[in-house]
Amino acid sequence: MSQINACRECDTAYADVELARDELARCRACHAVVARHAHTDVDKALAIAIACLILFFIANLTPVLGIEVAGTRTEANIWEAVLSMDNGWIALSAGVLAVTMLLAPFIQVVLVIWLLTFARFSRRAPGFAHILALLHVLRPWSMTEVFLLGALVAIVKLSSFLPISTGPGVWALGALTVLLAVLGRFEPSSWWALERLGET
């Protein structure tokens, strides 16, 4: 147990303080958050993570947007959008889209469920340290909310000359964006507190 903490942003050192629930400590030099109360409501976080997984499937298995003209119907969701760029060098963009819109959010949610399911039964999940490190790396590359905004822009763009309709996917995507943001509030750093589980 270290007695000293430091600011991640500016390296100012502080003596560790006990924080009460919902309290956080800010850096006096740069105002970044130095420490939070290390507590994760496992049940709540797990419920949100499972809801995210369900919404993720709905968003990807149903159309987000659709167009129907003269008997021809086309649909779009994240997977369709990735596939539309599957063409020569442009597939590089498909790769970036697949990672940021599909893989990163999916892996994040699955890993969180894995960690929390074990935590639920007061066990330390296998691969704990690797998983938390991976979550740290994935975090900036998960961009579900950008897809949602992109879908809204596409509606405005195309609705002037084509009959565009929204599918169930757009609602699932909206809810997923909100829940992922809530899940993101459970700081990965506070998940390290789960590490003590199973050691005693």
Partner: protein, 205 residues
């Protein structure tokens, strides 16, 4: 009032898990997450500069080359990012034009300037406006990925506009360069160690 810094105490905070531990001259691995712990991210400024230059170079083809090709009954058209914005303006949706302008032009250019400024001041070990620069870095980190917006719009448009002779759209090479700009600027921000802003002579805090 000068606050003590971890580096002066021979300590460092793990970038991955946040555990504070002693940092020696040898390679140390974090006791908690086993990530390599260094006092400062190795070659942070150099890596950031390399990604920044990559991003700026890619920005030119991203804007010059068309990002999408549309064929409708009225004809064929190649559109660039700027062209798309102008089209929204002409059709009266100035709000969407503003949104795409912010995501595709303002954000990348702001990131180039901001990261450039951070690198330059860090190199000079400047004490000037540290708070503001720390905030600037946070903003750069936060806004970065919204530039993917135009890539998403092009991808959705191309998957919807598959209406045979009536209207069809396919992506063009410009979008790959634009993706490259987003990834490079994000890598530049992630490579930058914000603690460098506060290194150098202790200034007014």
């Amino acid at each position: 009032m000068a606050l003590p810094r971890a580096i002066d105490l021979g300590l460092t905070k793990c970038r991955v898990c946040g555990l504070v531990a002693a940092a020696g001259p040898d390679e140390v691995h974090c006791a908690r997450c086993n990530h390599l712990v260094t006092v400062r991210m190795p070659a942070s400024a150099e890596k950031t500069l390399a990604w920044l230059i990559t991003g700026i170079i890619l920005y030119f083809p991203a804007n010059i080359l068309p990002v999408m090709h549309t064929s409708t009954v009225t004809g064929h058209e190649d559109s660039t990012i700027i062209g798309g914005i102008i089209e929204f303006l002409r059709s009266g949706s100035w709000d969407i034009a503003a949104l795409i302008f912010i995501a595709s032009v303002a954000v990348p250019v702001t990131k180039f300037l901001a990261i450039g400024l951070l690198l330059w001041t860090v190199r000079r070990r400047s004490v000037w406006a540290r708070h503001e620069r720390a905030k600037l870095y946070k903003v750069v980190e936060f806004i970065g990925y919204w530039s993917m917006l135009d890539v998403v719009v092009v991808a959705i448009t191309c998957s919807l506009l598959q209406l045979k002779t009536l209207a069809s759209a396919e992506p063009r090479l410009g979008i790959v360069f634009f993706c490259g700009v987003v990834v490079s600027t994000m890598m530049a921000a992630l490579s930058f160690d914000p603690r460098l802003i506060w290194d150098g002579p202790a200034g007014a805090t």
